[in-house]
Symmetry: D4
Subunit: 254 residues, 8 copies
């Protein structure tokens, strides 16, 4: 409720178009829905923007997940994105809807209820190695469900720089780039130095020994000398896809 | 040199418009300039985009800094941005140019040679506390020199959430937001949950004890539950300003 | 034995109401009970205050747990609280008593032998997300068995600040607040800034990547800018519930 | 503004006792004061409770500190507590007020404008060693200015347990205890096991080598086996004093 | 393509021996092969040097591994080395070739298609204990497949220095030495001080407690006082074997 | 071979009592035995002192363990101590000897072939809690097999200091003390301050959250304020028992 | 007060040889002395054993140090050992006594008031390098003042193992050994494997980069494969000397 | 002394060409020189190979440094290399020799007494930035004094990959490469993937925030995907230069 709406609302109170009691309730009422006593769906963004509803499944019981998704199905008509969903979660969700599609590499369930219109400009998603692909796919599927055109360029790590340079055309035509890499995590720096668009770096827990489950890649990316690069949490493909989508759709490309 | 330029270039070779020897040189020649044997200026972005030349002063000797800036002054007509510049660096730079302006809170020297045209949309820069202001100013001055309209909202940390909520109008009208915070670094999460635009979180080394010079804030920001948030290095105001500028000017707002 | 009791005791020795030998034994005797050679029950608090006996089950064998609980059952009439108890422990305990109740989310067994009288004032237990609920329940059940009125407010993380603000009435009416959160752990700071009562922050190991099993939340909470906040160990719901109870019952509310 | 006040306020709007425009302003107006563009004083707690105004000086310039204190002096009549204040800060503050008192061990400036009424019950502040005293004094002065009776028991570290046991009478008569210790930080555990009142443990950066500037003591305290113990940041004497005061004054002792 | 080749190539363009279009393709074409969209084989080194093709199996699916190896088998005649290969991977690979040999301690599959000619000079591989042998064997098999004579000297840790000194003859006759050790990782320092040849130290994750899965050994090796020692990642037997081979074959010993 | 023996030996060479060739062999021959190419038994201490042979089983294959023990059985008549031995290892060892005894809490196999004569003076082994007992038993069994009288005092953690003080008589009569504790690891400091004999502190990985698998206890013990305390690796019961035995038997008590 | 003394004491109460009031005082009185409110001297060990009084100067003000030493001088006749004493502290102490001797490498002040009788058996103190000598000297002077014969063997690091082996005679004749080393800290392991006496390892903060101020050496020493080795805090020469003295004098060598 | 020399030596004893006493001495005598009681010069390598004597100055007093260098000057005729030498050290050394040359960027003093013959093949030393040059120069001067031809290629960090690719000719003609980089430390990976010669990666402490004084670069380098890369300690230019020299001169290039 912005200033103008607030003014209009208070005038309605003044004019007795709205009773004081319902005004009190209205001011207390906020845009979310309680489910049992264990969760609160945030309708905020979805209602306004046609964004999909999102549920992060890891650490939640099957009952809670199904409870939340049932409520989402009941409440609106937006698409639903369930991330960090195991096969077992998918099978459970299938019991309450016929429309769930499972992206197993990405560990994402999509329940599509609305057509998705894609942006003209691309988000490019790159990986350093083959083992980084699951995190990259989490980013890719997220970005696609959010309405972005996505291009993939996998296994182009910096230790074989010619593989990356061979695809400079693809790299230079992207509007936003997501660099997914484990081990030494240098992909973001090299790519960030080649392009003039925002780069989102995603460290992955791929590696062994002194990779410390992604810490080496994380630190490397945070210390990137390439301007225009920012970083999300280790293995956070969803966050990268979501952020890239926000950026890609800014200033009118949707 | 893209595919078409390469084709055209090779046709010139074929038609003997360019000699083989100068073609060899041309293909070897890349867009940077060597200064002594200690630095290479990267003309790449500046030439193409009217971006300012940037020099990171920390860890460089006064001689090296002046050598690099002299070359920049000689080579082009872009603005020059010298970051992490102490008062002493500024005084040294004043010996080679009359046009240097020093932003002492931001520790930035700007040598302005071209008019800066500002974007219509704002980058909002927020801080959790008063002590985070120097890093915020580094981001602010960087973004301004890069041609962005910048709004400042300082000392609105989450431990006094009403101070932040009182300015929701400013927060909700920004196109990109930079959240600068030390200590528990929760500003990014709260802001990220309130808006639908990209948020860049900058942890600062402000704090003591278990803040570990910004590590607490960094981890907090990387683990933000708010989608659309990405992170840069501790105290990296420049990186945040640069990334925010890239995002703000994407898709045509310049 | 305080100074007055000591004086009285020594006078009894002097007056030969107590023999020297039994006085020696008395001074050596301390209020705990040995069980086999593997454990010592501390009767101290329980005897004096009607506090429940507490046993931390994690890392103890079923035999040891049953041995200790048997002794507790035999020795006194207080309630018994067994924390970090798996389903398997519960089943084992059922063999020696019919009165065990299992709170599976909280992983607590309660053997109730005395009526529990509740305080008039509330301990409020809040969580940032759904996955933090088990730790919150450990705190809640602990506080309840210790005789406190407990209110729950779950899934009100700071990335959706309106969900939290919508319940300001509940938050502001609590006497002590426990904030349970993983990820960026900022709940404690925001709540601590809203209220004037003690806040106990419990970091949880919920999260992934750079959450480092609760370290990010722990550091965030230790660095809270909100005065009046203190912190317990990662996932230490019991400790939070126990401390909150001590505080809630101080100065006469029992 | 609680529910009833809100209702009353809206009825005033309805009855035209308040104009819509001033109602809009009122709803937007929140209880803090802006000083220049660098700080916001939070009048919230102070106004309501007679709490002192608090300013954390570390990392702030002398100008900013004096600016903030001037505003505090102008705005209200509460006492003012300036923590982490160097001698230099004190001398600067003396230029704007004659009433500043400097506690040099505690590094605190107090500007007393109101009589402080002490609680009947004590906060006991203990240290492991002599070098922990500055942090303990920060806690002690804070608690005293907040209106608490404070008892000090210094240099009673666990490696000489008889020194501590010799003062059991003092320890057992406290209402809240603050344990300040560096090195192995075990004081909190031992004391926590002896008493039935809340213990706030403050790790200090005292020590060398593997004390890692207080990390060893911090971890030790977080892992305390003694129930009823919670922890604040390394060297955070102010936080401990403030929290202890909140607890000590709970349920009516003021 | 070096300078001379480039000159020659451009002359061919000029002389129309090569068409502009195929020249464009040629300049864009780089020496790797794409497999599906998940991997790129790097033919670079193998083609030039008769090096074996290498595939790191950990974190790759059986399908991907077989897909990559099939392509390798099809493309060239070099030997193939598959590292971090489980028994299960081996069995899967057996379905596509009869020539796979499995070194189970080393977890390496070798598909030998060319005779391996051994160097005259030795690489010596030493371990501190018996539990370090798997990593040592990874190094040993790698070095052997790359064409080196390899000598093994196992279980000669520094806590029994006489065992090591008893074999000084073997140690002093090596051309390159690989020291594989967990726990305190001191083998590299002692050996490095005894010889005048390059020593490659490999920390292993062998140990417990404060070995932190190899961190203790890694730090110990990085801090070695013995000049001429360098270090690879924890458990990185392959990297050590590969580096040692490069060094051993330098300046003409092949 | 000491100086005198060397002199005598060289005189034998001179007098041709020993041939040059066998002298060469003798000087090269060192007191250990090779088993296959995977292990070397160190006969050194055992031969000289009647110490038991020791084998650390963790990380070794059953074949290697049996190979080493067979050789030990064949070579000498000393007792054999196999530490970190699982039940499975014990069952495997039973196939090659009838004399193996398994201490399951301590995870130790003892093959007793010689009578063990106990010291007059005691090693006292204390634990903070019940869960620390397995590590304590590893120390206890080790010390006993090495010929020491051992006393146990378990579950006397510092959070219930009276339990510990109640047994001051036992504590003060020990010759060497081993303190085994996880969590905050303060036992060593308290005990070290009470006695005048060497204290060996063993941190255990018992705990959760910020205990970081024993790091909290380790740091606490390293920072102990009590003089006379030294520390071994996390969970290293064997090392503590062995060191305590060395100390206990020093200066003639055997 | 042991059991017999307690009995005797109680009989005195009974027989009215001691009044109840003075008995109460006696039981409360413990063997330490308060100095102002900032320190408590522990007379315990000194009174009983002729041990020197010890004061750790680091982090204490000159006034406090002089206050404590004055009291020590007044109370007894034992020698006084002031560790971590700067030159400035020494000069300050000279104002209150003429008998202070300053060991500048060791940073120790000794005030000798009693003859020191040396043990027959040696403590050997070794260092890895020249830069470790100050810590070694702290251990050496401590051990000497405590009445031990001390031998020094410096700069015998493992990277030049022959330097160490050349002095096997000295090493093998020691009763207790202290190994002081920074960098990779391997000295303890090598020495521990050579001897049958207790080894105390002292990591030093000597080194740079990944030595992390002694952490590398500390971890290396904790992970030593040599039985009989225990560790003290980084740079804790005093602790090593004190522990070694306790061990050296055990079982009657004094 | 190898087997043949030992045989010959024993025959001399047998033939009484050497007396038993001097034989005893000979066997005890090892190739190093003691200086006072604080240092031992290791003549080992220098005597045999014409290697320079090396002294690491950091952490040594001026007296010790001059003492050691004086002895070196007296003992042999090799060149002397003093690393980590401040200007102050240089001035002190000038008092005992006229031949000292100071390389201030490298912080190295060279005392040249013998002609240095350079290898035909090059060691190439690269840096990521200008601030890494001091460490690179330490490596360069070390390698040159050890007799290697050295090429420098500075400021070619991966964030401007074209700067590096422009010099592929230089990179590909090196025999050994040293990559010196701070921040994200990715230079080693990119270069390692481009060449077939050994790469030694040197992390530097250049950077800020999450570079953690070189830890980010160190981890990045240890996790390099490029085979043939090994790593030395943070800022260890000397170690890199020494190792590179060993490798460069292997198999006969000297």
């Amino acid at each position: 409720m912005n200033k103008d709406e607030l003014k209009y609302f208070l005038e309605q109170v003044k004019n007795e178009e709205i009773s004081v009691d319902s005004a009190v309730e209205k001011l207390k009422e906020l845009p979310f829905t309680e489910i049992g006593d264990y969760a609160k769906i945030d309708n905020h963004r979805a209602l306004r923007n046609g964004y999909p509803e999102v549920i992060f499944c890891q650490g939640k019981s099957l009952e809670h997940i199904n409870g939340i998704i049932s409520k989402m199905l009941e409440l609106g008509e937006n698409n639903i994105l369930a991330t960090r969903a195991s096969k077992e979660v998918y099978e459970s969700v299938c019991k309450i809807t016929d429309h769930a599609i499972y992206y197993d590499l990405a560990r994402i369930i999509v329940i599509k209820r609305k057509e998705i219109i894609k942006t003209k400009k691309n988000i490019l998603i790159m990986t350093g190695g083959t083992a980084d692909i699951p995190v990259a796919e989490e980013a890719a599927v997220t970005a696609e469900v959010l309405g972005n055109s996505v291009e993939r360029l996998y296994d182009v790590g910096v230790a074989g720089i010619h593989r990356l340079l061979a695809r400079l055309d693809v790299i230079c035509s992207a509007n936003v780039i997501i660099c997914v890499a484990g081990m030494e995590g240098a992909l973001g720096s090299v790519v960030g130095g080649l392009v003039d668009v925002p780069v989102i770096a995603v460290p992955t827990s791929v590696g062994y020994g002194a990779s410390f489950n992604g810490v080496a890649a994380l630190l490397s990316m945070l210390n990137s000398c390439a301007s225009g690069t920012s970083v999300v949490n280790i293995d956070n493909g969803f966050g990268a896809g979501y952020t890239a989508s926000m950026i890609n759709k800014l200033n009118g490309d949707d």
